[in-house]
Symmetry: C2
Subunit: 303 residues, 2 copies
């Protein structure tokens, strides 16, 4: 099926393009971007012109930043195209609900992707947890923002989400694998004096679930989820790519595809059926943290 990639930046070049090129389902028919392009693929800068000149491209994948994403998504759906959204699916919950409702009305696919849910060990962790009772969860998610977002000042601005830009990946895994839903009970947010959003957060959820998110970790990065159950302890490490049960690494049950190839395989199913898959739970927890969180202003932090 023909697909166009909109927004050819860092994540598109590193993940989306290779995944599409290796896929048996997809043919990358065009890119739309003010910046990047892909060799031998027709490159547009104007999205309206792309839609007009390519009525035979039924699917668009949007990798533009959250704030402008809504307009592209709505325009694509109104032009009868199936749409795939990078995470987070929008700048607000309300706009994503509007897109989902529009897609349903028109019988089009809309896929709000959470790439970390496709990490190698997430599906086997979920399967193992299905019949367990969870007694405690510890999430530790610590990255170096200067490494991952060098000079990207938007991450510290309103709407930039701050540490939740990465923390929502942890929440997307957690809300996928836990057998029961959770809700936030309290949150502490550390906001540098020159930022608008938190650089670190400590979240306490129902069910004895605790999360530490921090964007100031130099050296080795930490993406760990540890889950205690009545059937023993499970841990997901390396952002959902390594599974431990009872303290021992488990192999042999991992997903066969990487994150982005798996997302595009799922999108092929959704587009064939015209189905909507929009789970806003990870984003709801972030919005709840912003609503309920106790903010502390800390020393300025230069990006």
């Amino acid at each position: 099926m023909k697909i166009a990639l909109v927004g050819v930046g860092r994540i598109a070049q590193a993940q989306h393009v290779p995944a599409l090129q290796a896929s048996p389902h997809w043919s990358l028919a065009a890119t739309v971007s003010l910046g990047g392009s892909v060799p031998d693929v027709p490159a547009y800068t104007d999205f309206t012109r792309f839609l007009y000149e390519n009525p035979d491209v039924p699917v668009v994948s949007l990798c533009v930043p959250p704030v402008p994403r809504f307009q592209y998504a709505r325009q694509a759906l109104e032009a009868g195209r199936h749409v795939m959204l990078e995470k987070p699916p929008g700048a607000t919950l309300a706009e994503v609900e509007i897109l989902a409702s529009l897609a349903r009305r028109r019988g089009l696919a809309l896929y709000a992707t959470w790439h970390s849910r496709m990490a190698y060990a997430v599906a086997p962790a979920k399967a193992w947890l299905r019949d367990k009772t969870v007694s405690a969860v510890r999430v530790v998610w610590k990255e170096d923002v200067r490494h991952w977002h060098p000079g990207q000042h938007w991450v510290a601005q309103p709407g930039g989400m701050g540490v939740f830009d990465t923390g929502v990946n942890a929440l997307s895994i957690l809300t996928d694998v836990l057998p029961e839903p959770i809700y936030l009970q309290s949150a502490e947010l550390d906001v540098p004096a020159n930022w608008h959003v938190p650089i670190a957060a400590r979240l306490s959820f129902s069910g004895n679930v605790h999360a530490q998110l921090d964007w100031r970790q130099t050296g080795p990065q930490t993406w760990d989820i540890e889950i205690d159950t009545d059937g023993g302890a499970l841990a997901l490490r390396m952002g959902g790519n390594v599974l431990e049960i009872g303290g021992k690494a488990v192999t042999g049950q991992y997903s066969v595809m990487g994150e982005y190839p798996a997302l595009y395989a799922r999108m092929a199913q959704l587009a064939a059926r015209g189905e909507v898959e929009v789970d806003l739970t990870p984003m709801v927890h972030v919005a709840d943290a912003f609503s309920l969180g106790r903010r502390t202003v800390i020393a300025p932090f230069a990006l």
Copy 2:
């Protein structure tokens, strides 16, 4: 039908008790509260004991503050009772989703009320707007927090919502009467140095919808929604209780019941059918404002 009132504070005494006593549908069978009670009505202080001793009371109405409300609601649903929730329906979006899902599984009614939607002029305004195209909306919602919440320091704490405690009433009306959904595009939040949440907010939504919320208005209070359409201008004043079309007050189409009598009439229908009515849209816009808002710290404000 027998009903119990849980949390007998200011709003319960002023609104819920008179509405229940005047209703043909309801018999107030018990109260559960650490503080207030109602003459000639059995008064409990322990909710578990109330549930155990009163299996014949099928409905509970919760007027306790948002943070403890979830535990009462879950316990009531698990004990097979229909539940009515004061606004806002919870401290987080996630917890209300959990309650709604629990109620649906058990075939019980759950009603997340928005009392301002039952104001006298809201239904006729909605009917008039149904076939109009809206070109602009101005919401001005200004109250004196010291008058309405004297000494209630929780309104300024995390989870207290600040000015959105009243602003969500405006949003509940707006999201009910507008023919198309809206989403937040930007928000400016003024936070007093001794508060954790905004005392004033300016919100810009899609569709040229703007809202000014302020909790520092002394003298006359302002609860206005002005809507420009292709069929002329409509205004809702006095918190949805007065309707103007083309600048002239309209009478004769108003709802026949006041806000709380109408809520309890609706709850009687939902309980009879075991239905869930939970529209989180007003609360979603508040969460979006907390997520997307640009905060400015202003001078301290004593309650």
